[in-house]
Amino acid sequence: MKILYFAWLRERIGLSEEDVDIPPEVTTISALTDFLSARSPAHTRAFADRRAIKTALDQRFVPPDTLLEGAREIAFFPPFTGG
C-alpha cells in the first residue's frame, strides 16, 4: 500500500511516501497508524500526537475507524492551513 506524508509529518519521518506491506490483521486507519508508528523512532515521534493527524483514504478525508479494505493510497497530514 502506498503511504503518503505531508507537512511536518513528512519532515519528521524524513519521507514523502513509502510502499508498505500491510499485515492482514491491520484492518483500520487506526490500526495502520499503530503499525506505521512502530516502523522507526522517527515514525514513533511523528505519530505521537494522534489528535493532530488527519487521514485520507484514496484522496478522501476519513475518520480513524475507517476500514482499509481495497485502499490503494493512504495519506497522513496535519489539519489544513491553506487560503
Binding site: 505531508f6 489544513f80 491553506g82
Partner: protein
Amino acid sequence: MTDRSMPRIVVTTEDIDVGAELAALEAGAGAVASFVGVVRGEAGGRRLTSLILEHYPAMTEASLAEIAKTAANRWQLTGCTIIHRVGELTPGARIVLAAAASAHRADALAATAFLIDWLKTDAPFWKRENFADGTSHWVSARDEDQEARNRW
C-alpha cells in the same frame, strides 16, 4: 451554475491575474464578488521572509471542485473561480483568489465568503512560515477557521 457547467479551479506556482479572472466572470452576471489572500510581512510580531505552500496534488483540485460544487448548490451562481498558489511566496504575493458571480450581489458575496471559509479547512494545503531571524515553522490550524467554516 446556469451558463457554466464547471467552476474554474486552478492550482499553480504562477501569479494570479485578478483583473482577467474577474472580467471572465462578468459574462452573464449582474454581480461579481471576490476574495484575494496576500502574504503578510509579519506573523506574531516577527518579520516574515517567505511562506511555503505545500499541497496534496492528487486531492487538491478535487477538494476545491467539491467546495465550488457545494457553493453552486446553495446559491444561484453564473460562475465560480478558485485559484490557489503553491510553492514559495514572498510578502505581498497573492496566495489565493476565490470569486463568485451571480445575477445579484447577495448570492455572489455569500458564496465568495463560503468558498474561502471552506477552502481554509477542507482543501489540502499546508503553510510553512520562514522568518527573517532564520527560524521556520508550520502554521497551526486555528479554531476560528473551523468556526468560520461551520457557520455556513
